[in-house]
């Protein structure tokens, strides 16, 4: 009996200790280490980055942050393909990042989520690519600092083209024919990403239409775009297209592994491709769709924003100014040492020797000649509406006109919310 009662005492003590620990743990969680200081000094910042695929970028971003003396900057490296969803959700919480990278989209400004950065950009405004300034400006205020411009176009294998007797396609018809000729039992003709959405905006631009008009009305619902969708549907069902590749379009693997003769990708992938394939790489813009169209390149990219609702807005602005305005050495390192990106700062773009010759120089040329920059009025909800068009009328056999009309309705709803 005594033994057993001892046992009970032991159990009780153990239980008490466990409860105490649990309570302490709970309290500690309430105090919570969210990666920011409790306030006051405001010298702890959190930054969000999407996961760049190129080796060394994460380390570089953390290295820059460490070199900053006025605040302790921690980096959240967000993996997965739904960066925007994670970012948007985080911005509503107390654990929101102080600074984050994203694309210029007006709903962030209308909902007061991003801070006005005009005062830090204004002194060097003229040194920026003016298209990048324009795409970040609303009512004369500039809301984000462009870090890199990322032109997206087709990569192709000249050796395969030669063997199949194919010329670089100038129209979508020619692209579809080329894909058919290039396809062998081992190699598919073309790769436009597993869900084809990467080319959705180029299809619109190359058909002579646009996402929005200058006064923010939908401009994508045209017959030429519908015809383009029909043609893409043909390509999708032809069996000439690479689909379901383990690595999606932003990764050069499908191209470097010889799974496809053409791939839609971005300039960032050039170093890896060159290492794998040497000189056997060419690039061309998204071809013309219909007779009235014009070839197009998507000048994507990433920008730094400051969370206007964060606790350390001023400190965050200081950090963004330090890194993305003042530290040209870091900016050049970021743009050219890992993947290739075009620096939005004219002075840097001119001095970046790696982009001066060969394939990267051709990329810069396409960027300047055919490039379409982001439109700040074109938001994630509208992009999602066009994603649905691609899913329903290219991957599924939906009527393109009806799908475009449905998307136009959704876009109009969004526009009404944003502009009244």
């Amino acid at each position: 009996m005594s033994a057993s009662s001892n046992m009970n005492w032991d159990r009780r003590n153990v239980l008490r200790a466990a409860m105490g620990l649990a309570a302490a743990g709970g309290l500690a969680a309430c105090g919570s280490n969210t990666g920011r200081s409790g306030g006051g000094s405001g010298d702890t910042l959190v930054q969000y980055f999407h996961a760049y695929g190129e080796a060394g970028v994460e380390q570089a971003v953390k290295r820059y942050a460490k070199a900053y003396k006025d605040a302790n900057v921690t980096t959240q490296w967000i993996t997965g393909s739904n960066f925007e969803q994670k970012l948007f959700a985080a911005l509503l919480t107390k654990n929101a990042p102080d600074v984050f990278e994203f694309h210029p989209q007006i709903q962030l400004i209308k909902s007061g989520q991003v801070a006005d950065l005009t005062d830090i950009i204004e002194p060097v405004k003229d040194d920026f690519n003016q298209a990048d300034i324009k795409s970040h400006t609303v009512d004369g205020k500039i809301y984000g600092v462009r870090m890199i411009d990322d032109p997206q176009f087709f990569f192709y294998r000249p050796s395969m083209f030669e063997k199949a007797g194919v010329e670089v396609p100038k129209t979508l018809e020619e692209l579809i024919e080329a894909a058919a000729k290039l396809k062998t039992s081992k190699v598919k003709g073309a790769y436009l990403g597993n869900d084809l959405t990467p080319v959705q905006h180029n299809l619109i631009w190359s058909a002579g239409a646009d996402t929005l008009t200058a006064d923010n009305k939908p401009a994508f619902n045209t017959d030429a775009v519908a015809d383009g969708l029909k043609q893409l549907r043909g390509l999708f069902t032809s069996g000439d297209l690479l689909l379901g590749a383990p690595a999606d379009w932003w990764d050069p693997s499908a191209f470097t592994q010889g799974l496809t003769a053409m791939q839609w990708c971005g300039m960032w992938a050039m170093p890896v491709m060159q290492k794998a394939l040497g000189d056997d790489i060419g690039i061309f813009p998204f071809p013309k769709v219909g007779s009235a169209g014009k070839e197009s390149v998507y000048n994507g990219g990433w920008s730094m924003f400051v969370n206007a609702k964060g606790k350390n807005v001023e400190a965050a602005k200081e950090y963004v100014k330090w890194l993305w305005i003042d530290q040209k050495k870091h900016q050049e390192d970021f743009a050219t040492s890992y993947g290739f990106h075009i620096p939005p700062r004219t002075s840097l773009a001119q001095s970046a020797t790696k982009l001066k010759s060969g394939l990267p120089a051709e990329g810069v040329k396409l960027f300047n000649e055919f490039g379409h920059f982001d439109n700040i009025g074109w938001t994630q909800a509208m992009i999602a509406a066009i994603n649905d068009v691609m899913a329903n009328s290219v991957r599924k056999n939906g009527d393109p006109k009806a799908q475009l009309a449905a998307a136009e309705k959704k876009v109009n709803t969004e526009l009404k919310k944003l502009f009244g």
Partner: protein, 322 residues
């Protein structure tokens, strides 16, 4: 286990008397305190992580809550009207029904089959049990990535395509095209692999509970071992477990999210309710009001289906039906 119980029962009266004269703080003395001691931590977790969010969700569903979870504009049943008219949400219920029609019977049959097989093993039974149970420990996200990237990818060196190519079949892009809907094969097989082992264990436990005498009696009455005893003894004896398994499977199917989210990004088909609600509440629009209304509708549906199923199959009447 049984000895502890007897000892406890036998000695109970004595300490109870003692405690009147000499009150003891302790585990035995105050049963109310003990009740809260043991259920308290669990209850706190339940309240914080389950009841508060459910309540909050119901509250949100009556408000215009875009880009905020502390809204101020009361809209009554507007969100409910919107969600019930939303074609995507209604389609997601169809998707769920199709999914459940595949996965519930398939898992039930497979796990029962595995249980019967493993239960008959004369050697290495524990090993076989572990082998089939292990996938339960794998995360849905990890498993769907394996299914998507190595087994069912669309390129020539994907496992499924390699096997098909031996028979001269062209590469299939399993997840890219909704027509033919190969994606169901991927989604159903990944879930089968992940969950069959767990239900197999439940069935094994139930099988071992069937009294041997029943089979002996049946054999004396001339029942042939095999289908006849399975049909007339094993299956009826498993009724309670089967009911529970089907119920759990249905609820799990309703909660399906991970594999659909990871296997079918940017698709407009094959979107079950939770993915649809996730897009609504956490997508571009962050419409927490409509999302919450959808969640409440879904909860009510699950309750209704569960009650109905209980009524039809007699959940909880399992003991008497033995």
């Amino acid at each position: 286990m049984s000895t502890t119980t007897t000892r406890g029962v036998a000695k109970n009266p004595a300490p109870a008397k003692v405690s009147k004269d000499r009150p003891r703080r302790g585990l035995r003395a105050n049963s109310t305190f003990n009740f809260w001691l043991f259920t308290g931590p669990f209850l706190i977790g339940l309240v914080i992580f389950v009841f508060v969010p459910i309540g909050w969700s119901v509250w949100l569903s009556f408000f215009e809550a875009r880009f905020t979870v502390t809204p101020s504009q009361f809209v009554g049943f507007e969100n409910y009207a919107a969600i019930l008219q939303d074609e995507d949400f209604r389609n997601s219920l169809v998707t769920f029904t199709v999914f459940a029609a595949f996965i519930v019977p398939a898992t039930w049959a497979l796990s029962l089959g595995l249980a019967l097989l493993v239960n008959r093993l004369r050697f290495m039974r524990a090993f076989a049990r572990s082998v089939f149970f292990l996938p339960t420990a794998v995360s849905y996200v990890a498993a769907s990535l394996i299914w998507k990237m190595s087994i069912f990818n669309g390129v020539r060196f994907g496992l499924a395509n390699t096997v098909l190519s031996w028979f001269g079949v062209e590469n299939i892009a399993w997840l890219s095209s909704p027509d033919p809907p190969w994606y169901w094969l991927v989604i159903v097989t990944v879930r089968l692999w992940l969950q069959s082992g767990f239900y197999m264990i439940l069935f094994i436990a139930a099988l071992q509970n069937i009294p041997r005498e029943l089979y002996e009696a049946a054999s004396l009455d001339g029942a042939k071992p095999g289908w006849q005893t399975f049909r007339h003894i094993t299956l009826p004896q498993l009724r309670a477990t089967s009911t529970a398994v089907i119920l759990l499977l249905l609820v799990a199917a309703y909660q399906a999210f991970d594999e659909f989210f990871n296997l079918l990004p940017k698709a407009t088909w094959g979107q079950p309710p939770l993915v649809e609600l996730y897009k609504m509440a956490l997508g571009e629009n962050q419409n927490y009001g409509a999302g919450s209304a959808g969640a409440v509708v879904l909860t009510l549906l699950i309750c209704a289906v569960t009650l109905l199923q209980g009524k039809i199959m007699g959940f909880g009447r399992g003991e008497e039906s033995k």
